[in-house]
Every structure is written in C-alpha cells, then in structure tokens.
Amino acid sequence: MTGLGYVVVGLVLAAMGIWGVVVLAHPLRKLLALNILGSGVFLVLVAVADRGAGQAVDPVPHALVLTGLVVAVSATALGLVLMLRSDDDRAAPSRDQSDDKGVG
C-alpha cells in the first residue's frame, strides 16, 4: 500500500510540474517545475520498486533514478546559465519572440 500511495504522490507531482512548465512565465520557475516533474517521475519508479516488507527491492529503477538525477541537475545548471546570459543581453529582450508565444 505504501508503494501505491507514493505512486499517486509522484503522479500528482508530475502533473503539477507539467502545469508549471506550461503556465509559469519566468524561466527559473519553469526550471523548478521541470525538476518537480522529474522528481515525480522518479518517485513513481522507486515506489514501484518497493513492493512491501516481505519482498526484495528492485534495484533497476534505483539505478535509473540515479542516472536521471545527475542528468536533471546538469540540465538545470545549463538552463540557469542560459537564463542569466539571456538576462545579460538586454539588447535582445526575451519578450521579442515574434512567433507564437504560449506553452513552453
């Protein structure tokens, strides 16, 4: 039952993250939302690996999540650098995206 509970929490976090990336405007918030989405996905994977007290833990999702964590932090750092740099280049303000705005 523990596992199922955390699967549900993970999926709610994932939905929240997707909502945040689409709706929030500031790139820093988008990065936070992406990290929450990632945490949600990881939580689903790890929660299902733990099938309860009697059973062994499935180590494969654990390894996947470790990989995912490192990927997430490096992409986040790159995103932050890009955000700071685009902030610097005020000459081309980020609002001037002539084509479609909206999601993303």
Binding site: V8, P59, V60, L78, L80
Partner: protein
C-alpha cells in the same frame, strides 16, 4: 484583458487537474498489474559481477552503457555552460571561473573549511564501499562537489585556479569508460563485458574516473552559474 487571463488560467488549471486524474488512474491500474520487476534477474546475475551492491552492479555493469552516455550529458552541460559564462564569449574549453564569494565573513569561511574535511572523508568512504554497500561513484562525486561548492563559497578567488587546472577531469570519465569498454571488447569480444579476472579492477578505474568527473563538473557548473550572474545587479 485581466479577465481573459483569468479564464485562460482556469482552463489550464482544469486541464492540469484532468491530466493529474488520468495519470493517477493509469498509475493505480498499472500498479495493480503487480509486475514482478527485474529484481530476481538481478539477484541471479549478481554473482557473475564481483559486486555486492545490486544498484552499483546495474549502474556499472548491467546498464553501464547508460552511465557512459550520462557522462556525455554531463560533459555537454559543462562545455556549453563554461563557454557561455566566460568573461567574454570566448573559447572556454578551459573555464576561467572568476569566483567571488556571495557570502563574506570569517564565520562562513571557517564553517566551509571545517565542513570540507569530513565531507571529503564521507566521499572517499562512499566510493570505497560503493561496490558492497549503498553509495558509489555518483554519490561520492556529488558529495565532493557539494564540498567544493562550500569551499568556493568560503574561500573566493583561490578556487578559480583549481577549476582551471582541473579541466581535463571533465572528459575523464567518458574517456576512461570508452577506453575500458574497447579494451575489454578486445579481450572478451563484447563491448563493456568485463572479463572475470579483471572485473573489479576495471570497475574500480571506471568508478574513480566517474566520481572525479561528476565532482569536477558539478562544482564547475556551480562556478559557471555564479560567474554568469557575476555582474548581476
């Protein structure tokens, strides 16, 4: 105008709610399938790997290829971030991180230095024990990076030398991984198939290089973010 914003937000929130419901429903249904997972297969194959910690076995042996590509992701993030965060947008295969401490004060400094030794010890322990107990290259690297970040906060300019001198550490993990993979392919005929007689040594080499690269790159990425925002307002 304002009202339109609100109605749009309402629609998006509704959509997100539906998405959450769908996801949760799918999750519950999927969980009920009660699939066995791969743990039995891992346990059965563990004996052939000379590693006792199943997670380390998956990371470095069964799915070592994932970890190899992951080192590529780290390298990519570092390459771009360090290029962009340089003083001018110049070549930056060697990042020249101009580190300023955002926190000034001797207490922080003391604290950072006090933290350093135990953190490094923890990292060494994690790396050493990682083959048998929880821990391993990624965690050890992350802890060293955290220690380096604490040190950077505490000590300011000196660390820029370390960041610049150590740039070759960034591609080290990918390089060692590839070399080891090709070397064992020549011996065993299969890429990344560690031969029985040297499995532990090969894996140890990969682990040390991975820890070093992860530590260096994560610490350097922090320096890049500091640097990119360095002339902040």
């Amino acid at each position: 105008m304002k009202r339109r914003h609100h109605s749009l937000e309402g629609w998006l929130a509704l959509l997100a709610g539906l998405l959450a419901l769908g996801l949760v429903a799918a999750g519950v249904l999927a969980y009920q399938a009660d699939s066995p997972g791969l743990q039995d297969l891992v346990v059965r194959s563990l004996a052939q790997t000379r590693v006792d910690n199943p997670v380390t076995a998956v990371l470095l042996d069964f799915r070592g290829y994932d970890t190899l590509l992951e080192m590529g992701v780290l390298l990519l993030a570092w390459l771009t971030a360090s290029t962009l965060s340089g003083p001018s947008h110049e070549r930056l295969v060697r990042p020249s991180a101009r580190l300023e401490s955002p926190v000034d004060g001797s207490v922080d400094r003391m604290l950072a230095r006090l933290l350093l030794a135990p953190l490094l010890l923890v990292a060494a322990y994690l790396l050493w024990r990682g083959t048998d107990a929880p821990g391993g290259a990624l965690q050890a690297g992350a802890v060293v990076a955290a220690a380096a970040v604490a040190w950077q906060l505490g000590s300011g300019a000196e660390s820029s030398v370390t960041v610049r001198r150590g740039y070759w550490l960034a591609p080290a993990a990918l390089g060692v991984f590839l070399l080891a993979g090709v070397a064992v392919a020549v011996v065993t005929g299969t890429f990344l198939n560690h031969p029985q007689f040297a499995a532990r040594e090969v894996m140890m080499a990969i682990e040390v290089a991975t820890a070093a690269s992860v530590a260096y790159i994560l610490a350097a990425l922090f320096a890049c973010v500091l640097n990119a925002g360095g002339n902040g307002k």
